[in-house]
Symmetry: C2
Amino acid sequence: MSSNSATNITWHGHQVSRAERERLNGHRGVVLWFTGLSGAGKSSVANAVDGLLHARGVHTYLLDGDNVRHGLNNNLGFSAADRSENIRRIGEVARLMADAGLVTLSAFISPYRADRDRVRSIVGDGGFVEILVQASLETCEARDPKGLYRKARAGEIKDFTGIDAPYEPPLAPELVLDSDLRDVATLAAEVVTFLERNGYLAA
Amino acid sequence: MSSNSATNITWHGHQVSRAERERLNGHRGVVLWFTGLSGAGKSSVANAVDGLLHARGVHTYLLDGDNVRHGLNNNLGFSAADRSENIRRIGEVARLMADAGLVTLSAFISPYRADRDRVRSIVGDGGFVEILVQASLETCEARDPKGLYRKARAGEIKDFTGIDAPYEPPLAPELVLDSDLRDVATLAAEVVTFLERNGYLAA
């Protein structure tokens, strides 16, 4: 304790950098942005990837409707502006989590190209992996895990992506996964292989 | 590939839990919420704690004005409602980061008790450590690292905490750090000791 401590609190130490956090983790921070129709398999594949990575000691976090809509975005509705702000906030949180050194998985329909492109620019090139999970509308509607397509067809839900609202597929996604053709485990392994080949799983 | 893979994409695997992430990290996820006047030393102490923890292999992330105001909260101004929403969003992000298993440090003035109490309830009891960093207004004004007090006194900034806006100190903070009496290194060590004694640094 000195009189100096009272008049100058500025900390002259070293600030922990992203590179140092990545070194501690043994891998890079990155955002894996899954996009696609409801029922295409985004959450299933993202969860499977999360499990595979965690089992290898990779530090991960999965952002999905369960942990975001009722928390950070609980003051947003379903207007066009609010949907856009929903994706923007998720993108900003994903950026922070990647900066923290985590492999951050996000599983939201995110139907609009402009919204996803904005997230790509928020996260920064090289740290954003856009993954289209595709299946035919017929397949998605047949799966209908939450009964949402049935409600949309019955007019009980409006502006439902694929029924009465558009889905704009990415023009140049880093990965395309087809859940009409492959099962979840196979698709998840494809993602892990992509991350390995592109150096994301080493610091 | 089977017809089954197309009609049932539901993933029956295991979802990675918070406890599993904490086990991988070797410590708990927790929110260290630093609060206090501008110039009291919140950022300096939080950065020093971040450095000490990182050096021990603890997985940390520091939320501050630099990485939040220009990103997640760049569409918020300085009205009473926007300030409150600013703290709410930071609290929600801190909750997600603690859920990800990180020791999450937050360094914002956060002058209103109601806003901080809301964050405490968002994060959940046991995972929220409120740390009052205190120094007399005279000390803070003498330090004035960003020249903000000078501007507030000159009337160039309005509603500045401590000058023409109130600071409501916590009634029952987990820790009180006095930067009038102790230097940054000493205060940072106090925080680490608190975390050790309360079991946060073991999984």
